[in-house]
Symmetry: C2
Subunit: 209 residues, 2 copies
């Protein structure tokens, strides 16, 4: 199988960390997002959504969306489990991962895409042209602040985001926090639980993936 | 266990249909969203996110987010499977469900919440106050149109959204299409594949849930 990827993009980083935690060495193909290669005819014919990550299996089946690619990897390489081990922990990982993605990752993307000159006319991921909406960047900043608060509160009561073990939810949270930092929205200094956790998960070898 | 629910809301309908397909009779507790009961102190103490659906297990564990509640139900009641049966079908259900949620459901919500007078000051779900952004309603309409196109194309090649079997992705797509219709964005007449599928899945007894 082959993973269509771009090393500097945060979304495929979720998959790369997930695979690294499992010791899976994925064959990657670079799609240069800086040069707009995701909109080329050749990449559209592979993934009409014009985004990475995108996994193509040996039988040609294409799998998009981070959550789906990680589900596939969990099924073919169950150890160590990153999506929970029993009904409750599986549900809690899914819950926290979804919250990290929607309240964290998507909020940061909303800021970046509605304010950075490079995303003019492309405020949405994918092929649909879309003007930037500046109030949406402001709203995104408020959402990212609320995300940091939620994450700090959660990590005051739990070693990892979804419970006592490292999971997919930590990966999505880590990528979101680092993505926010890159967009110049650093986590507040006073969020000591978030800070402790961030230092801890950043030390894992997978974090460099 | 108890499901906090509101019968007229589209988001918990995803869970109700999912449970009905499995023959699970869930005990529900109504949270009256029309009267703002989700923001009451008593409901905040149950779910600080101030949204439904929310599942509380007998041991007190709270599970929010539709995808997580459905994961829990799939694990405790595996038959009939609604989240796939092997690595590839599990990944494809996750992929299509995520697309239906983000490109369909969220786009319709974006239109409604940024245009209906009843959502003034509450353009986001949850506790964060947020002004409406009118251009976001317009952008939402364009996204819903693209969603209908994608869904019709997909259903031209597949009986159900994620493949040959009914799955969670059909539930999310059905709820999104019906939600759009309620917001006065009916699916285009010419989308015959979408229409065939919609008539078919709407006839399932679970659709009235």
């Amino acid at each position: 199988m082959k993973l269509y990827d771009f090393p500097k993009a945060p979304s495929p980083r979720r998959v790369r960390i997930f695979a690294a935690e499992k010791g899976l060495a994925l064959t990657t193909v670079e799609v240069n997002l800086r040069q707009g290669e995701q909109f080329s005819q050749s990449y559209r014919s592979i993934n009409p959504q014009c985004v990475v990550p995108f996994l193509v299996l040996d039988d040609g089946t294409g799998i998009g969306e981070v959550v789906a690619i990680c589900r596939y990897l969990e099924e073919i390489a169950p150890s160590p489990p990153l999506l929970g081990t029993d009904p409750t922990s599986k549900a809690l990982v899914a819950m926290w991962d979804h919250r990290m993605e929607v309240e964290g990752f998507a909020a940061v993307a909303e800021v970046l895409r509605n304010s950075a000159p490079t995303f003019r006319g492309r405020a949405l991921t994918g092929p649909l042209a879309s003007d930037q909406i500046p109030p949406l960047a402001d709203r995104g900043r408020a959402r990212v602040a609320a995300f940091f608060d939620m994450l700090d509160r959660r990590l005051a009561e739990s070693s990892f985001v979804a419970g006592p073990s490292f999971s997919m939810a930590d990966i999505t949270a880590l990528v979101s926090v680092d993505f926010a930092d890159r967009v110049k929205i650093p986590a507040p200094e006073g969020h000591i639980h978030l800070k402790r956790w961030h230092e801890n998960v950043s030390l894992r070898p997978s974090a460099t993936a």
